[in-house]
Amino acid sequence: MIAFQVQLEAWLRSFTSVADFMQLRWSWPAAESAHFIGLTLLFGSIAAWDLRLVGAVKQVPISAFHKLVPFAVLGFAINVTSGLTFLMTSPEQYVYNPAFHLKVLCLLLAGLNVMVFYLTSFRRIAQSGAGQQPPLLGRLSGAVSLALWITVIICGRMITFYRPANNCRAADVVSFLADCVVR
């Protein structure tokens, strides 16, 4: 695991032109602002969609809410881009950071949830009209998505508080928390 992390850190560090740009006075704060604006776009569109899936605003057909999804994708694209600039500038703050690990895990689970949703219940749900409650699997998918994205936001905020001390490397999370975390 550690060998993989060291390789990943070195690879992220190889994008020196991005890192150089991010060292400019206002680059990092601007990228952070973009990351939070992207978060809002993503979370707002997803929340409206998920709340409808869970059962809110039943009088509106679900397919009408689905038109908001491209804006969630736009928010996600903004955040992957701005997020990568952070990773390429200070990879050591993320690659060895348990809060970041949990964030990535929740992102992967959210992606998996979307995939399962589109492969199983989407077609039926897209055809359902006004006043209809989605099937249990659809409602479950909405609830899981909301919970995962909230966890992603919490983990993202926790990254600062689980930054490893300079050059601190640990073999597992327990020794990491004991030896490396500066708070």
Partner: protein, 165 residues
């Protein structure tokens, strides 16, 4: 001029707990909750603005009133967590002009939201003015978010006794 007040707030046990406690429910938890409140209030407000600008025409604009309880929850969550963060570092926020800019932008965003909600309640058609308000709302919220982020980079005094950085 307000240093005695800042100093009194910073020496209070609440402020000391938020800043100094190793608990994840102290400063980190409050910060995370503030971000979730932001996502709920501004995120849903932005979705409403996008609808007014023509996205997802199948959703009646009035239907967004159903999300109002969620947006209110986000707003109050952020009033409470925002006050807690202010109590944690009063000098840092209150000596920074960007903080007042952020508060003004939030007030502007909320007033526009109230106006657009009233307009869709009163008329089924979306007028040009309503669309303009929706566009301005998106810009105002984006500026509020950016100014909030920039608070960390524009402060000059962290506490009464310590400068920023």
């Amino acid at each position: 001029m307000f240093d005695p007040l800042f100093s009194w707030l910073e020496s209070s046990s609440w402020s000391a707990w938020i800043v100094g406690s190793p608990s994840l429910f102290a400063f980190p938890g409050i910060l995370a909750a503030h971000t979730i409140g932001l996502g709920l209030l501004v995120g849903l407000s932005a979705a409403f603005d996008l609808r007014l600008l023509g996205v997802a025409p199948g959703i009646p604009p009035r239907a967004f009133a159903r999300f109002l309880p969620v947006m209110w929850f986000g707003l109050w969550l952020n009033v409470v967590t925002g006050l807690a963060l202010l109590l944690a570092y009063p000098t840092k926020a209150l000596t920074n002009p960007v903080f007042y800019l952020k508060l003004s932008l939030i007030a502007g965003g909320l007033l526009i939201l109230r106006a657009t909600l009233r307009r869709v309640r009163e008329s089924l058609a979306i007028s040009g003015t309503t669309k303009l308000l929706a566009a301005v709302s998106l810009i105002v919220w984006a500026a509020a978010i950016a100014s909030g982020r920039l608070l960390a980079y524009t402060c000059t005094r962290l506490t009464v006794d310590f400068p920023c950085e």
